[in-house]
């Protein structure tokens, strides 16, 4: 009975596919010209970081299946970001990471470093071509430069198609090297943040410490890390309507991974900050993730659901579920989007410490590696223009809830919200031509 039903069902599925208009439009036949994509994105956290990003990408097919992809990204980042220091019921004062000046934080407020300002330029190039048999080779390189950060990388990937192109198995390797050279040098992990600041004329301008305090907290001007990423993937076409993808990725990072701009507060038994020490993270990290995606074409709309599980040897584990629903609307389309993210904190994450950590131990109060959940709600709307170009808009709301990983709040900290929510909005406009 099963066999019989499968014959009729298979035949009727084949017929449905025959009379379904193809997803790829006739436009795909116009090759050999550069296809350009441009996007402007705005990301803004309430009272915190704001970023504007401009992306211009181009893709050109040279001969059958030989593609060159180039992407240029420019972004600026301004605003304040959490330093890791814990809120206090009184005004707090911090030395800027560069040593050039100080900023103060109001009572009961989460300390934010407002000197955050950066401009980044990034270039990506990727070359893809078919090889003998069913193989496809892809190689690429990227370069990204900020004022105090340089990132370089190369990658190569090989894919093979099986089963009349219904199955694609791929493997990829990428190597990267990141170098950080912050203004004022790299602070020594677990060292106390000095009170000393430089005056504009280079003379000591403070009564609490001396220039040797600041110099003593710095041991070198720059450091780097090396990254090796491996990716294995399988894409399986179940039928003409249903496509699935499964990936496993492994990443090994070796080198300096501490955030030189982050500190941890050392508090006494009353919860009062005694001093702030520079954070310290391990110099080795192994990351793993598994990913599954299913894309299903209904008669007119498309459901796209994916799940990712991530774990690393820092103790971070995370789950993310993402769902999109594409539907035609008028001449264009509408796509609602929802994403839920949940993360368990790193082993060495502590919102504050009650005593000076031991030498060579690790500690960080950076909420981004803490216990948190994030929810994104978004909507995209796109439509083709009369000249054949396409324009689309995306708006998203993001709320991140940082939760207490189970520390016993003490003294004055009890009265304070040391885990404030982070809200952000994202607006994006895309133009393809």
């Amino acid at each position: 009975m099963n066999k019989s039903l499968s014959f009729s069902a298979a035949l009727s599925a084949a017929v449905s596919a025959l009379f379904v208009a193809p997803v790829t439009s006739v436009k795909a036949e116009e090759s050999n010209a550069w296809k350009l994509d441009s996007a402007v994105m705005y990301y803004g956290e309430t009272d915190r970081v704001q970023a504007v990003e401009v992306i211009v990408g181009g893709k050109k097919e040279f001969e059958d299946g030989h593609f060159l992809d180039l992407k240029f990204t420019f972004d600026t980042l301004t605003g304040a970001s959490a330093t890791g220091a814990v809120a206090q019921p009184n005004i707090q004062s911090f030395t800027r990471p560069s040593g050039n000046g100080r900023y103060t934080v109001s009572a009961n407020e989460t300390p934010l470093d407002d000197t955050f300002k950066d401009t980044r330029v990034q270039l990506n190039a990727q070359w893809t071509q078919p090889l003998k048999g069913e193989y496809t080779l892809s190689t690429g390189a990227h370069l990204s430069k900020e004022y105090d950060y340089l990132s370089l990388g190369i990658n190569a990937g090989l894919a093979r198609e099986f089963n009349q192109k219904n199955t694609t198995v791929s493997a990829g390797l990428s190597l990267g090297q990141d170098t950080i050279t912050p203004e004022g040098g790299l602070p020594i992990p677990l060292y106390e943040m000095p009170h000393y600041i430089n005056s504009p004329n280079g003379q000591p301008n403070n009564t609490e410490g001396s220039s040797s305090d600041f110099d003593a907290s710095r041991d070198r001007s720059s450091d780097s890390k090396q990254i090796v990423d491996l990716l294995f993937g399988v894409t399986q076409v179940i039928n003409r309507r249903f496509i699935t993808q499964f990936n496993y990725s492994y990443s090994n990072v070796d080198g300096y991974q501490t955030d030189p701009f982050k500190v941890v507060s050392v508090v006494d038994e009353n919860g009062v900050t005694l001093n702030n020490i520079y954070e310290s993270r391990p110099d080795k990290r192994q990351k793993n993730s598994v990913y599954a995606q299913g894309k299903y074409h209904l008669s007119k709309s498309v459901v796209d659901v994916s799940y990712r599980y991530f774990w690393d040897d820092w103790g971070i584990k995370s789950n993310s579920i993402d769902a999109k629903y594409w539907m035609p609307m008028g001449k264009g389309y509408l796509e609602p989007h929802i994403r839920y993210y949940q993360q368990d904190e790193a082993d060495f994450y502590q919102p504050f410490v009650t005593r000076q950590p031991e030498v060579d131990s690790n500690v960080s109060a950076d909420y981004r590696i803490g216990k948190l959940t994030g929810l994104t709600l978004g909507l995209s709307y796109g439509f083709p223009l009369n000249n054949g170009h396409e324009i689309s808009f995306r708006a998203e709301l993001y709320r991140q809830k940082v939760t207490d990983p189970g520390v016993n709040n003490i003294g004055v900290i009890n009265q304070l919200d040391i885990f404030p929510d982070v809200d952000a909005v994202i607006f994006q406009t895309n133009y393809s031509f």
Partner: protein
Amino acid sequence: MKDQKIDKRTFKISQRPNGLAILFNAMASPCEVLIETDDFNETGRIAKLICERTWQIEDKFSRYNPLSIVSKINNSNNKPVAIDPETYRLLQFSHSCFQISGGLFDITSGILRQVWTFDGSDRIPKKSDVNRLLKSIGWQHVKWDESSITLPNNMEIDLGGIGKEYAVDVAVQLLRAETPYSALVNFGGDIAVTNQPKFDPAPQQQLHQNKTINRVKTAHPWHIAIELGDKQTSDLTTIELTTGAIATSGDANRYLVKDGQRYCHILNPKTGWPVAGGPSSVTVAAPTCIEAGIAATIAMLKGNSAKAFLTENQIQHWIY
């Protein structure tokens, strides 16, 4: 079919008891579209659309037309040939049929016509000639994707096994989009109806008196008389169809007889020989004409287990 002359591409509309009929020729067959209306202008408009589309399908996929995509592919000498989305979908469909039939339905098997001619004679080809051609058969050797197909040297594809049924289904889609009236499409015996007729077409007397279409709203099927079995015995069977399609595989008049063994014109692509012991024709009803056609063809290829195959798959059928 080979000596098909290019028909004059015209259509005519003729009055029938239960509506208007569009008559034209395409794909070496007489084609008829019966629409349950008496609106002559509207039928003329629809006739133009259907004829243009049907002839377009014929021009595009006929292997007799040297300008067709099929001819282009067959003369490509192992070079990739760019294809459009419609061709891709037909190839994808043929591929699905190849898979679900376990290789029995194979659009590369038409090359066997070089040695087999089913003219009622006793001219059976030599085994060695058949075996030589077998090397040029096998859809699994063809490389193709959404944008191109690469056919190995000495191979041919032939969409003749699905082209007419496909054209019927396309005509049905056109009719459903263009007219609310029920219509019956018949391209040389491959038949489909768009929806159930408003009138019962059977009592013609009554129909003549009720010219206003909306008066009788009860559901009635289309009554289709088809010729099953030998023409000599002239066995006319009436099939009732309210929606969906029927298609027939096998032709009682195309066969060879040698040493008392009757060879039907359906060839097994794996052996290169006709299927022995099978029925002379199989008619199948299905939601779409192409579905009916494929089921009928695969049933024929199953030989003496054709009936068991159709029964087991719960496919409505008439076997002779």
